[in-house]
Amino acid sequence: MRRSRVLALNILLLAGVLVLQEPVRRNALVLLRLPFTLTAGTLRVLMTLPRLPSLSQENERLRAELVQRELETAQLRESLRRAQEDHALLEAVPGPHGVTAAVIGRSLIPTQQTIWLDRGSRHGLTLDSVIVEANGVIGRVLELHPASCFVLLLTDPESRIAGLVERSRETGLLVGRGRGLCELIYLDDSADIEEGDRVVTAGLGGPFPKGLLLGTVVRVFRNQATGAAWASVRPAARPGRLEHVLCLSPSP
């Protein structure tokens, strides 16, 4: 009776060990290794003690080096991000390439939606040079200086750009309204335009080449009495979040 109980216990233990062999083995190894670990650790400490002053110096040097490397990494990451942005800008525009510029200021006057760029006539810009970013058109150069320029954003009330509904080829005039949205006006009451339509530049005169993305229609208004329609358009580019832009060279 007693033997069978011991046997059962052994079988149970064996099964337990087999099922839990990995953690059991790991813990057993830790226990087995403990005396050796303790001895080796003590020996290492004893051997390290005479080298402590030089180790401390080396530690400081390595810390300084680590900080230096971290700074370099951060700079490289920033350079990479800038390069990717520039690349995206150049990829976004199929036609003429231009110069990239950084946004160095924004308007202080609420009713005037402008940005200030760090490129000017010295860099080949002219009045009415078209300014774009990877998402779409931002505006055009309104005021030119040798090393800087003011750009009139397409949301400014004075901005007028001939627009074209990409899907239906309806044309209208995209005007700024002094806030986040623009309006596509001079549309016919029966114009084929609906929410979600993309509006691109029509290329009808003016400085803007055809086919640059202006924005997306968010709402259409139709007035049957006057036979006119207009649409609210959300600009594709986000002027408030711009850092770098592309200034297109004027067409020859």
Binding site: G105, P110, Q112, Q113, W116, E158, R179
Partner: protein
């Protein structure tokens, strides 16, 4: 003019530029140039002309339209503040709030009028702009006190 007032004036103009760069729309940026102009002229009314010129030219450089109107309106605000300071205590917080609020309201409505931008959304944004400008007054006073 004392150094703290000069520093406060310069800080106000610099902060206005920094905030304009940080916010997505100029409507959300309080008119700190106006706030510091009112606060400083209220304390040194004799310097209203030079201070108004500085603030006016500063704002004018950012204007692509109506720069003259912006300069003249800023000079007018400076003149009004110095004229009021001879009759009542313009350094009183409530008076400062009132002057800044009225000046900001007049300048914003004037800008909407000359630009012919009478739409409901823009009126709402104008209210936000004026409110933010008024709310910046106690902050500017605290900065001035700290200096």
């Amino acid at each position: 003019m004392s150094l703290p007032l000069t520093v406060a004036f310069a800080l106000g103009l610099a902060a206005h530029v920094l905030l304009a760069n940080a916010f997505p729309s100029p409507w959300w940026v309080p008119d700190l140039s106006l706030v510091v102009l009112v606060i400083v002229v209220a304390r040194v009314p004799d310097r209203w002309l030079s201070l108004s010129w500085l603030a006016g030219v500063f704002k004018m450089t950012w204007a692509v339209r109506f720069p003259g109107q912006i300069l003249v309106s800023t000079l007018f605000v400076g003149w009004v503040v110095q004229a009021l300071s001879r009759r009542l205590d313009t350094t009183d917080p409530r008076t400062e709030w009132l002057i800044v609020g009225l000046a900001s309201l007049c300048l914003t409505l004037g800008a909407l009028w000359v630009e012919e931008l009478w739409t409901v959304p823009l009126m709402g944004l104008a209210v936000v702009h004026v409110s933010l400008t008024v709310l910046a007054v106690p902050l500017a006073r605290q900065v001035l006190r700290a200096l």
